[in-house]
């Protein structure tokens, strides 16, 4: 069979049209999310490395400085497994907390406004934390200081994105706070972070049993 040859001028057109050099910021972010999933499809992938990769990806594609991910343990309770952007004492305080399923369903203890498909915005003025949990914030002395503008993101504000399994049981959640601009995150940030969170859930649910420890 004769060797087939390429139409080089059409090939040049294709390479220019699909060049990564001219991607939009949204396309860049989606590609980062895809690469996150790709990195997790790996024989060495463990739950902890997957969670750490997810945090790194959130830092890369969004304006959040403070990120924490909690997952469900074998005892049915939830604990923070990975964090970034917290002072040492705040991180230690978070690691010590154990949430029960009842805590997650308790809207009175953690009042929130829904801001996306799986996201809830906890407004600082509603004191969305239990007594004693002030230490989990980076600047507890700023808690209770009112915001100057409705679009400020202040200490005590945080967003949670929930991940549910096939039986609608909570598997994990992502905590997000402290935007670089000190303003509430853009709509784009929420949409992209929700997409990443959904991809994280897919990866977690498809990890082999040996990788869950």
């Amino acid at each position: 069979m004769a060797k087939k040859t390429k139409d080089l001028s059409q090939e040049r057109f294709l390479l220019a049209r699909f060049s990564p050099a001219t991607r939009t910021s949204r396309e860049e972010a989606l590609e980062e999310i895809r690469k996150f999933v790709e990195r997790c499809i790996n024989p060495q992938a463990r739950m902890q490395t997957v969670l750490d990769e997810a945090v790194r990806t959130v830092l890369k594609i969004t304006e959040f400085k403070e990120i924490a991910i909690a997952t469900r343990d074998a005892d049915g309770n939830y604990r923070y497994k990975t964090m970034s952007g917290f002072r040492e004492e705040a991180e230690k305080a978070r690691r010590a907390i154990v949430y029960t399923q009842a805590d997650l369903n308790d809207n009175s203890a953690f009042p929130a406004s829904r801001v996306g498909r799986i996201s809830q915005y906890h407004i600082s003025e509603r004191n969305p934390f239990k007594p004693g949990e002030e230490a989990t914030f980076n600047k507890p002395d700023l808690l209770g200081i009112p915001r100057k503008n409705p679009d400020d993101m202040i200490e005590g504000d945080y967003i949670e994105m929930y991940m549910s399994g096939p039986d609608n049981q909570f598997i994990a959640w992502v905590d997000l706070s402290g935007t670089r601009s000190k303003k509430i995150p853009s709509r784009e940030t929420i949409i992209l972070t929700e997409m990443l969170t959904s991809c994280l859930l897919t990866v977690l649910l498809n990890l082999p049993d040996s990788a869950r420890a």
């Binding site: 040859t5 059409q10 699909f18 396309e27 499809i41 801001v115 498909r117 409705p150 709509r187």
Partner: protein, 225 residues
């Protein structure tokens, strides 16, 4: 007093209207109603993820749902998904946009790993690490495969503009297992617009393909897709 001052004053005295202002802002800013076509793609892919994340779903249903999502959300009318079988060869397992005769031929085809990457037999242009564009001008097919192209009545049509996507053009997006071996691919062609996809569409298809890899990588050995 400035509006900012008013707002602060309301907060200091604990007026519910101050909290209402924040809540109203959150509602407006993050309304679930899509604001552009690409936000619709986010919703569609989120729904697909909600479906395919469940490992109990049969592989055939996962493939069908993936094809439905691509068909609804993007420009393509022909979509097919091939998976690696236990014998190491790749066969099409699901498709849309073909006549039943063409689909029968498509499902009878089998490709080795070498075939997938054989540029002398199936010339292609790599537009990313996992996506290959097969151009009609390069004749990326054998005679027996011509029967699998959608819309045989326009197969002879040539490209009038470089951004036309014509009958024998097709795009393959590959997905891999944990050992980085190709375990399948999504194939698309025949866009409704007659034009090549935007780069953003390829980014979405690559994300969908990679997610399929995540969902199927440990299942193909044990199940007949």
């Amino acid at each position: 007093m400035s509006s900012e001052g008013n707002y602060c004053a309301l907060l200091m005295i604990g007026k519910p209207s101050a909290l209402s202002a924040i809540e109203e802002l959150l509602r407006d800013n993050y309304s679930p109603i899509s604001r552009d076509a690409d936000e619709n793609a986010f919703s569609a892919v989120e729904s697909l993820i909600a479906y395919i994340k469940d490992r109990r779903k049969p592989i055939r249903s996962v493939l069908s749902e993936t094809i439905r999502t691509i068909h609804r959300s993007f420009d393509f009318q022909y979509i097919a998904i091939a998976l690696r079988n236990i014998d190491g060869n790749y066969r099409y397992k699901a498709s849309s946009g073909l006549s039943s005769e063409s689909e029968k031929v498509l499902f009878s085809l089998s490709y080795s790993q070498a075939d997938l990457l054989d540029e002398s037999k199936y010339p292609y242009t790599s537009i990313s690490d996992i996506t290959k564009f097969f151009m009609s001008e390069d004749e990326p097919y054998t005679l027996s495969e011509i029967a699998t192209f959608p819309r045989p009545n326009i197969l002879a049509r040539t490209r009038e503009s470089p951004d036309d996507m014509i009958a024998k053009d097709f795009i393959n997006i590959f997905f891999k297992n944990r050992s980085k071996e190709i375990i399948g691919y999504i194939e698309v062609s025949d866009p409704r617009s007659g034009k090549m996809p935007k780069r953003g569409t390829i980014v979405w298809l690559e994300l969908i393909a990679t997610l399929l890899g995540a969902c199927l990588c440990d299942r193909l050995e044990g199940e007949d897709g």
